[in-house]
């Protein structure tokens, strides 16, 4: 790939506006990316604080800190905030920063909508969090909000929850449309589909998943709204409705949603492993096909979340086999990463440490996922801490580690400064130990028989719960170090070169560090 051709004739080129209006009115993809990333970090800390409350209550058997009523509000908000406020906006922020720079585009295709899709998010979460202070408390029916617990039996704040989910959905759909339109229309000449960086590919697929399933979620919550306020009985058995219908609709959204939270991570990790192995990615096209297969399969496996609802035998067998099939393309990805590292020239800077940890721990989460697909065994695992351990392994050292890896990897490009490598490594090791001490024992607790969403438990589960809580506190407080490192890097530090990393490839490394406010006003030439 060739260097950028700077355009010095553009009279309209200008820097950022001054003051708060820069952020309120901005249509610049880099500013919006920054907004998304800081917002998601704020939500990560709030959702994390709730996790601390949960683990503090579970530190010992018996009720000590909160009442069961409030405990249920905490698990519900923790899930919703981490998914819709933490992981998803962080990936959208990364897409905003990186997709235009990676494909040689000057900005996102729909900048005004980009501004809107970000600025409605804080309102959505303000509404959601404000429900904590309402009479009857915040939503308390789990992030999966199964009817009729979330309709007939819900606290009055459920209506605010529904409104908040609608806003989040609108934001995600707008963000996804923007990504698709940008990638489809604004690639620099020569950037063909099969030459796009994998992060761009992963986001293109993710964006299609979002467009396909967010309206389904919107439909589900609208049906809830109708049941609660307008006398319908979609999910009310007494009125001829069907509570299981809710679960089918929810998981038709919910399972692709799982991949929405992991596909961009695949893209990120592929870049980082390639860079720090100083070796070409082993199989680019098989990586693309693997992601496409995973995305397509994600639409036909939703009922593996519902093996215990009483599905007919044929359905159980179909969903078991379809789910297990996902292990094949997922395996292809893992083998590709290992083959890329093999006989490379490896160094282990912080982004690489996070990426390697991602591969190992995500694989552990994937293998426990394979176990969960086996229906007879799932009858024992379902809704226990084994499931909690499984999805936290794919989401925390999976999605969240990939986001942290991405921040360490690209922050020199964003800020123009190198982060403190010693502190970065310290952050990694604290997080790595914390995450495993927290979630590995949850496999034991779950297999031994502790159900999830329990505020209190039998004595046999006491020891490993205590270990898990200690790990959670370690992991939680380590993230303040991450905040410190990011602020320190933004404020100053060793100047980064344009290339930043020895083995880095791609258009974003051809522009100056920090990246100028406007890049690629004239498309670069790509061979």
């Amino acid at each position: 790939m060739s260097a950028v051709i700077e355009n010095h004739h553009d009279d309209h080129d200008h820097g950022p506006a001054k003051g708060i209006t820069r952020w309120l009115y901005t249509t610049n993809h880099k500013d919006i990316g920054t907004l998304y990333l800081w917002f998601s970090f704020a939500m990560f800390l709030i959702g994390g604080a709730m996790a601390m409350i949960i683990r503090a209550e579970l530190f010992q058997p018996g009720m000590q800190i909160v009442e069961p009523e409030f405990y249920n509000q905490m698990i519900t908000l923790h899930g919703l905030i981490m998914i819709f406020g933490g992981v998803m906006p962080a990936f959208v922020g990364l897409a905003n920063w990186l997709v235009p720079m990676m494909i040689g585009a000057p900005d996102m295709a729909l900048p005004r909508m980009n501004n809107l899709s970000f600025w409605i998010l804080p309102f959505a979460f303000f509404i959601l969090l404000s429900s904590l202070f309402m009479e009857g408390g915040a939503p308390n029916f789990g992030w999966t909000f199964y009817a009729p617990l979330s309709t007939t039996y819900a606290p009055p704040s459920v209506t605010f929850f529904i409104f908040s989910v609608h806003i989040m959905g609108a934001s995600s759909i707008m963000g996804a449309i923007n990504v698709v339109v940008t990638i489809m229309n604004m690639r620099a000449p020569g950037v063909t589909l099969m030459k796009m960086p994998l992060f761009v590919w992963s986001w293109l697929i993710t964006a299609y998943l979002l467009i396909a399933v967010m309206p389904v979620l919107a439909g589900a919550v609208t049906m809830m709204l109708m049941d609660i306020h307008f006398g319908t009985s979609f999910f009310n058995a007494a009125g001829g409705g069907d509570p299981v219908l809710f679960q089918h609709i929810f998981w038709f959204f919910g399972h692709p949603e799982v991949y929405i939270m992991i596909l961009p991570a695949f893209g990120i990790v592929s870049h980082i492993i390639e860079t720090f192995s100083r070796k070409q990615l082993f199989g680019y096209s098989s990586m693309v096909w693997a992601m496409l297969s995973i995305a397509i399969l994600s639409f036909v496996v939703w009922a593996h979340h519902m093996f215990t609802v009483g599905l007919p035998l044929a359905a159980e067998i179909f969903f078991m086999w379809a789910t297990m099939l996902i292990a094949v393309p997922t395996g292809v990805k893992v083998f590709n990463w290992v083959a890329t590292m093999f006989r490379g020239s490896l160094t282990f800077e912080t982004p690489m440490l996070f990426a390697v940890a991602f591969v190992v721990l995500f694989t552990i989460g994937g293998l426990s996922g394979l176990m969960l697909a086996i229906v007879p065994a799932d009858f024992q695992y379902h809704d226990t801490y084994f499931v909690v351990a499984h999805f936290h392994y794919v989401l925390v050292p999976g999605a969240i580690f990939s986001i942290m890896a991405a921040v360490y990897y690209w922050i020199p490009k964003w800020s123009g400064n190198m982060y403190d490598e010693r502190l970065g490594k310290l952050h990694f090791w604290l997080s790595f130990i914390g995450v495993n001490v927290t979630f590995f024992p949850q496999h034991f607790i779950g297999l031994a028989g502790m159900p999830r969403r329990y505020p209190d438990y039998a004595l046999i589960f006491a020891d490993w719960n205590m270990v898990s809580s200690i790990g959670a506190f370690l992991f939680g407080f380590s993230q303040l170090l991450f905040l410190f490192i990011v602020i320190k890097t933004v404020m100053g530090g060793k100047k980064a070169t344009d290339q930043v990393w020895e083995g880095a490839k791609g258009l974003e490394w051809t522009v100056a560090s920090p990246a100028p406010y406007h890049t690629f006003s004239t498309p670069p030439k790509v061979d």
Binding site: P61, E135, L149, K279, V328, F342, G344, S345, D463
Partner: protein
């Protein structure tokens, strides 16, 4: 009964501090690491299946990670300054697609076979309808017309760390499900309000209890004993406090138990025609209130602001006897208040009378009592 914070102030707090320190170590159990082997043929088969896929997953993990860790050790920049150039190898790529596929089939075939065995919905020798309620289970023996509720029996003081926790903390109930050994028992599982899930690990049964649906599960347990399980679908605030306990006994003992339960039912029917005084009803009603009503309406009758209405000072409870009966019989549409028509006439009359006589309601309202006959009249209106 459950979760009344005011109980804290009444107790000895220094005792609490001591217990907080020692209680988790009294029952140390670092070896609760794996699924326990089941007590039935099916649950044993499930356990074997679990161990099979577990070891396959471990083997895959060990192979993949050892290649990776070897590479991390041997192919660092120091040891291997010039990276290799290879990429894409079709033979290798086909191999790592086909081999996992074959491994998956090796796992899926035995799993499907076990599943077919589990999916047998023929009637059992004994058929028990299991109904989930917020937050208790009801068991109805369809052949014998025996029916009862099973509630958590762990004391509130144990939950709030005021006294040491018993051996079966949160795993004990006031009335166990009794089934005979060696007989095929079929459970017909449903729910009255929200979705619950009936899980008994030793039998490898986990079936969601869904309002409007009847799911089935069956078991044959050879070994008499006590087996414990839990609710596994979030069902509201006391989700963690509605355990399941099944007692498996020999056939003779089972027959005796059924006979005794039937006698109890006859005695209860006699109570309906008895002349009741207010004091008797209040006394009986208090215990019914503690089991059925207190979770929402609270011991104080104050409810929880915004969610569960107060009964103390309520106009309906104080002055509108007929509406009061109607609410208990029919529930309140669109609210968490369900019908309690499954309680006996005596129980309903007693609990209504208790609420009408407590918390100063009798003085402020009309003070009338409800007798079992009122409930019978409600059920069979005079033409």
């Amino acid at each position: 009964m459950l979760f009344n914070l005011f109980n804290f102030t009444k107790r000895n707090t220094s005792l609490l501090a001591l217990l907080l320190l020692v209680s988790p170590f009294m029952q140390a159990d670092w070896f609760a690491l794996n699924m326990t082997r089941g007590s039935t043929n099916i649950s044993n088969e499930v356990f074997e299946l679990h161990m099979l896929i577990f070891w396959i997953c471990v083997a895959i993990g060990v192979i993949v990670f050892s290649v990776m860790f070897y590479s991390m050790w041997a192919h660092t920049k120091k040891k291997n300054p010039v990276p290799a150039k290879f990429h894409e190898n079709h033979k290798l790529e086909i191999a790592w697609t086909i081999i996992p596929f074959l491994i998956l089939i090796a796992m899926a075939v035995p799993a499907s076979k076990t599943l077919v065995k589990i999916y047998d919905d023929e009637a059992g020798d004994i058929n028990i309808q299991v109904t989930g309620y917020q937050w208790k289970w009801q068991y109805r023996y369809l052949e014998d017309d025996v029916s009862f509720f099973s509630n958590l029996s762990t004391d509130l003081d144990e939950i709030y760390n005021l006294v040491p926790k018993g051996e079966n903390y949160l795993q004990e109930v006031d009335e166990m499900v009794v089934i005979p050994a060696g007989k095929k028992v079929r459970f017909l599982i449903t729910a009255n309000d929200v979705i619950h899930s009936w899980w008994l690990p030793a039998f490898a049964i986990k079936q969601d209890a869904i309002p409007g649906f009847v799911n089935t599960a069956w078991t044959i347990v050879d070994e008499p004993g006590i087996y414990r399980g839990k609710c596994t679908e979030l069902c509201g605030k006391n989700h963690g406090f509605m355990p399941i306990v099944v007692k498996v006994v020999e056939q003779a003992e089972y027959d005796e138990w059924v006979f005794a339960k039937k006698q109890e039912a006859i005695k209860l029917a006699e109570l309906t025609t008895k002349e009741w005084t207010a004091a008797e009803l209040v006394e009986r009603g208090e215990s019914i209130y503690e089991v059925n009503c207190v979770a929402c309406h609270q011991t104080s009758g104050q409810g929880i602001s915004g969610i569960f209405p107060a009964l103390a000072g309520s106009d309906i409870v104080m002055n509108k006897k007929d509406r009061n009966i109607e609410i208990l019989m029919e529930g309140v549409q669109g609210a968490a208040m369900n019908s309690f028509s499954y309680l006996s006439e005596v129980e309903l009359a007693a609990v209504i009378t208790y609420t009408r006589q407590s918390w100063g309601n009798a003085e402020k309202g009309d003070g009338e009592i409800v007798i079992p006959k009122d409930i019978v009249d409600y059920k069979e209106p005079k033409i």
